[in-house]
Amino acid sequence: MTTKERVRHPANEPDPTIGAAMTAQPLTIGRDQKLSTAHEMMRENHVRHLPVLEHGEIVGVLSQRDLYFLETIAGVDVDKDRVDDAMSSDCYTVPPETSVSEVAATMAERHLGSAIVVERGRVIGIFTATDALRLLGKRGKEQHPTEKAS
């Protein structure tokens, strides 16, 4: 890589693996669990996405936005209705060695809010669009570490 590329090219930004950028060991929920349980888990742990498991394998993802909508607009009974009724089964899974840029590209193309990181059939992490925002915010601080302090 030339000096010019290092200084000028946007690819100068690091491109870690998704395994390094993900939130490891995310909370998960079973597809037969009640929606109220899912909502409580999200609220108490300040997370917005829950990978949904069946027999230990990923079968979908549930977002807090789905839950809020169900509660406030549709008026469903969250004490009776189950995760299975609200989850998206079209979830995006990737192995941990995939680059962040590749995952980000796919998420952007498919307008996905999260990618579930799976290794040997087990969920080991999650990378959300909020993680992407955090990564960009962090890179800005690394490039201007003293701006705020001065």
Binding site: D66, V100, A105, T130, Q143
Partner: protein
């Protein structure tokens, strides 16, 4: 990413919609202009933000294309300005868990920057051969 500003990555959004318009009207406008977010403007004031996903959920559970925009929109959208540093906007959005920012220039809404746009930023810093965005963004 040094010097990057929000306007370079936002989706320009000259179209707006009124709060009393129907979701059907909003969806028609989105489809016509190929956009997924519509700032909601009432008498020149930004009063909310409506996303295609908001409408999709409304339709899924309400069968409510006749419902008005105001019933479904986000009433407190995060606002920023075109020349705001991208990293700072992303930092605020991540900390507050905002999914989108309405970009305003004076009284005019000029675009919307979303978490999906943030994903595009990361993706385009390391473009693939089959990138959807063949025009490379050059550094400052």
């Amino acid at each position: 990413m040094t010097g990057e500003q929000v306007y370079r990555w936002m989706t320009p959004c000259p179209q707006t919609i009124a709060p009393d318009a129907t979701l059907f009207d909003a969806l028609s406008t989105m489809r016509r202009f190929g956009i997924r977010h519509l700032p909601v403007v009432d008498e020149g004031q930004l009063v909310g933000l409506l996303s295609e996903r908001d409408i999709a959920f409304a339709e899924r559970f309400l069968e409510a294309r006749d419902a008005c925009v105001a019933a479904v929109m986000n009433r407190e959208p995060f606002m920023t300005v075109p020349y705001a540093p991208l990293a700072e906007v992303c930092d605020v959005m991540a900390k507050k868990k905002y999914g989108s920012a309405v970009v305003v220039d004076g009284a005019s809404v000029v675009g919307v920057f979303t978490a999906i746009d943030a994903l595009r930023v990361i993706a385009e810093q390391h473009p693939r051969n089959d990138s959807l965005h063949p025009v490379a963004h050059r550094g400052e």
